[in-house]
Symmetry: C2
């Protein structure tokens, strides 16, 4: 059985072989959670095994508390079962055969990556490792924390101003960290540490230990806390239960009274970007915008060569010179031309027509639809640059050049225009996007409190989308990071107020199964806003856009917008022009495309 949430319902249904898999649509009222299903289906006295490196302490507690009641055991099992059947097969057919137990393949997961770590220079990090450690240790002293254990890879990378290439799209590296008042340690495979990195760590007085030493050292830390803690001065551990795997938790061997009530501050410190990080984010978003606009300009130039979704024969459509997948290569090349480019920040979502409704659809070289005119095209992509991380979604209509609108066909999708319903949906998504972008809010406000603003115009006609509205984004780090987020009321986000310097996506959408998908996504940062009044002498905050790429005006139903909303779009498009045109002096075609697409509504 595979549990997954609304973002992946369609994709999972397409990719899972129904003869051996059951899709469990998580978070729907009728779907039992993993722990509910286990509690109801495993007999008392039996045991459920789990990989202790893949289950956090929080997850363990949540599942175990349900199973305990039914007298079902929940026990860590070393040697992941999936690792053991992992086939070294090369082709899809061989993998399939291996999974069915057929074929004669060797098994075994590939070893840990040995790719080198590199330094994130102070110019982009904005704060030295020593300064980060000093602040962390001050916070630890205030809360009687003996040690901070860091398991989240992006937190280790942020803390030590290091980056790596171990995880696709995420510039992190396999590691752990432990910080006490008199030591800071990085756990990593020794061959990943170059001389430059060793020197950088030495300057910040950070020790390097072998990756495999983490359990031994965690056990020592746990022992030390018990020895040193007294009733006058009880000592605690910071190890975020949601991010610390059960193997490390087990090694610590401490009961809950040694866990601090307070939250370890690393995730929050990382989320609130400093001036250098914000400057880098603004700067890389302009370069990224240039790349995306060059791509759209190129794509527009290809449209006359493409078959039509409405008038071409099936075989002509199949022979389209462009596919969802092939255009992602072109887009990648435009990004790769930009200064400070490192990698994409996630697998590009390039989807035409019905594939747009598969929220996290990612085309592959072997399975990708031809690009045709007369369809909606959704493109969600991003880049990793040395000075920041981008994530943008634009939904455009691929109008056939010269196609004429037929009278009375406004309700239909044609080569000339989207259907009236598609325009209504796009405009309502846009109204939500704008409502969130423009909203001022007090410093006590959380992300979930704002989520309904992004949905209000969809809800009013009975539409909605089954994903959150915004996620945090790292600075040349993970494209999804916490603790902040904008989503319908859900546990962990409810306590997190939005703070100046946080970066979030603003990405409402609408997905019509089997027909089309719409999403409009900008990255924004939280900043102080001057307001005419200031109730209770409280600070008020709002958002500023980082992303600078025009929004497709052909999909807008203008009479659904208020004059304030039209002003917003025109203002945003003016911001795009001002940022992009100076970088496009040697590219007349893209300059013209930007100018055309930023004309006032």
């Amino acid at each position: 059985m595979l549990w997954t949430d609304g973002r992946y319902f369609l994709q999972a249904a397409q990719q899972l072989d129904p003869t051996c898999w059951t899709l469990m649509k998580d978070r729907l009222p009728e779907t039992p959670s993993i722990e509910e299903w286990l509690a109801n289906n495993i007999d008392a006295g039996k045991q459920v095994g789990f990989d202790p490196y893949l289950i956090s302490l929080s997850e363990f507690k949540r599942i175990n508390s349900k199973l305990e009641k039914k007298k079902v055991g929940f026990v860590p099992v070393l040697g992941n079962l999936v690792d053991q059947i992992w086939p070294e097969a090369k082709t899809e057919e061989e993998v399939k055969a291996a999974l069915k137990g057929e074929g004669d393949l060797e098994h075994g997961r590939p070893p840990l990556p040995r790719t080198p770590i590199f330094v994130q220079p102070i110019e982009f990090a904005g704060e030295s490792v020593s300064s980060k450690l000093t602040k962390l240790r001050q916070a630890m002293a205030a809360d009687n924390i003996y040690a901070t254990i860091v398991c989240a890879l992006d937190e280790v990378a942020w803390l030590y101003n290091l980056r790596g290439r171990d995880v696709p799209y995420n510039p992190v590296f396999m590691s752990y960290a432990i910080v006490t008042q008199d030591s800071a340690t990085l756990y990593v495979l020794p061959e990943k540490v170059s001389d430059e990195v060793a020197q950088h760590l030495k300057e910040a007085k950070v020790n390097v230990r072998h990756y495999d030493s983490i359990l031994e050292d965690a056990a020592a830390v746990g022992q030390k806390v018990k020895e040193l803690s007294t009733s006058e001065k009880p000592l605690f551990i910071w190890a975020d239960p949601a991010k610390t795997n059960f193997a490390v938790t087990n090694a610590l061997n401490l009961d809950d009274s040694y866990r601090a009530q307070s939250t370890p501050p690393i995730a929050m410190s990382k989320a609130v970007k400093n001036d250098a990080e914000l400057q880098g984010m603004r700067e890389c978003h302009v370069r990224d915008g240039v790349a995306v606009c060059k791509f759209f300009t190129w794509l527009e130039s290809q449209l006359s060569k493409l078959p039509s979704a409405h008038t071409s024969k099936e075989e002509d459509i199949a022979a389209s010179p462009l596919t969802e997948y092939s255009v992602t290569d072109v887009l990648r090349n435009f990004r790769a031309e930009q200064d400070k480019f490192v990698d994409l920040s996630f697998s590009t979502i390039s989807s035409i027509g019905a594939n747009g409704a598969v929220i996290h659809y990612s085309p592959s070289p072997t399975s990708s639809k031809p690009i045709v005119t007369g369809k909606i095209f959704l493109l969600d992509s991003g880049g990793q640059y040395r000075d920041g991380t981008t994530d943008i979604t634009r939904t455009i209509f691929l109008a056939r050049p010269g196609a004429q609108a037929d009278d009375g066909k406004e309700n239909e999708e044609t080569d000339a225009h989207p259907s009236a319903f598609q325009k209504e949906c796009f405009t309502r998504v846009l109204k939500g996007h704008i409502a969130l972008a423009r909203q001022i809010f007090p410093k006590t406000c959380t992300g979930p409190a704002l989520d309904a603003l992004a949905r209000h115009a969809l809800w009013n006609v009975g539409l909605d989308y089954l994903h959150g509205t915004g996620h945090g984004v790292g600075s040349f780090l993970a494209v999804h990071e916490g603790p902040q987020g904008i989503a319908p009321n859900r546990g962990p986000l409810n306590g997190v107020t939005l703070k100046p310097g946080m970066i979030l996506s603003n990405e409402p959408g609408y997905y019509h199964d089997g027909e089309f998908g719409i999403r409009i996504e900008n990255l924004v940062y939280v900043t102080r806003k001057a307001t005419p009044y200031q109730f209770n002498k409280q600070e008020f905050y709002g958002f500023e856009n980082l992303t600078v790429v025009p929004i497709d005006r052909r999909l807008i139903q203008r009479d659904l917008l208020t004059s304030e909303e039209i002003d917003y779009i025109n203002g945003y498009h003016a911001q795009c022009r001002a940022a992009l045109l100076p970088r496009l002096k040697d590219d007349e075609a893209t300059s013209q495309w930007v100018i055309r697409n930023t004309e006032p509504l």
Copy 2:
């Protein structure tokens, strides 16, 4: 020290003698909670006492977990200390003297009220006691619940279709209830049970036991659960930890493993009104609207006799024929003339000018400001009727009849008009009120998710209000009831989705300390809404207004409203006219007032 929240900051500061009291402004970031303060200020080894009848199990756990860590005891103390110094004094001076330990007063809290209980007939209750008990027992059987313990007075009243007069404004009576599969018991002083009530209870097979037997019977229930619970069929108790006092919890003497994980369903069943209750609520709101409109018509007729806030001498103002308090008597009389009137539903908030900023201000006969023209008047009031409960706030401007607007004085409050700032504030509060009233939302939506809609227009200029936007309301029961509510993200509300039949208030406000207060409050009910589309085949809900009293058009800055907002007001005023005029055929003055105040904007 007294902890209270934003609704009472100003009032507490006015009423507490600073020589012996410290006001702790709860929920401000700089204010420690009660348990934080105790943990930081009481030495290890000491004990903090509490009255076990006044602290719920949840509160006990929250406070005790903090104190435990500091080795401070938290112990129930029988014999409430305040009861012991409760003076039987009659005058305010005597009370003050008694509190200072002066004077020669006898002490002792008055005994429990002996006022009779009465039956809430099926015509208004809409469901028999037998039916409610059957449903409760079905739910209990499904969750292996041995007994349900009910401590909340409104839940006892709802379950047994009884009402009383023991608590001012709340038609409840001092009682407990215990329900098992084969017994249902009401704990109450025997002299409160009339023959009619006895017969009503007998028909529903409900036993009556003495109020004081609750601890003994709770102990017996606790014992029984332990005896009957087996590992094959574990048994549990339903006793809402937030509503069960520590004395009853203590008597049960059960550890947490006997507490059901599920929530007792009584509060939710009570919150979702049946058709008869909704019909009664609609009906009593029209009668209540008639009373409020008669009051406003009468008040308008008095304005020429009143002094002016801007031109009258101080002694003339002091001699005003009307005070904040005296007008509440007039309003009460208009309500009392209405069919099925029982009582007010809370102490009327009648406040002029600066008193309007004291959110829960309640004028008293001895301390009440004179009513003058040229000021904003805020009136928050409600009635208890046999068929329902009302709660309405209207904020009006008391214009002096015939007063002329002076050119260039738009920014000032005069006898002719409110200031431009006051109009802006009122209009932004109104925009929030309308945004919430008009919003459609999916069935998964909670109250907190909608709260920002009511604040968005205030936030955008740096304004806000320090109270929730909506509370649940009972059906001839408490004017505040859970579990639903609309408020900034807060724990308990986050899990409660809004369901058809729930009643809520919609009451954004704005309070300018020392100057004026604004609140616009209607009661609404949640109902299914037909939408043009229906995403995911999901039901969509929205609100319908119950309250039918015009909103003061003189306080509206029309150009701040969108055309949809103007349409909403005009539609709402048409609804008021249609509901009220047929009931005002013998009252020409009020009819004319309604017609004037419901003219389209």
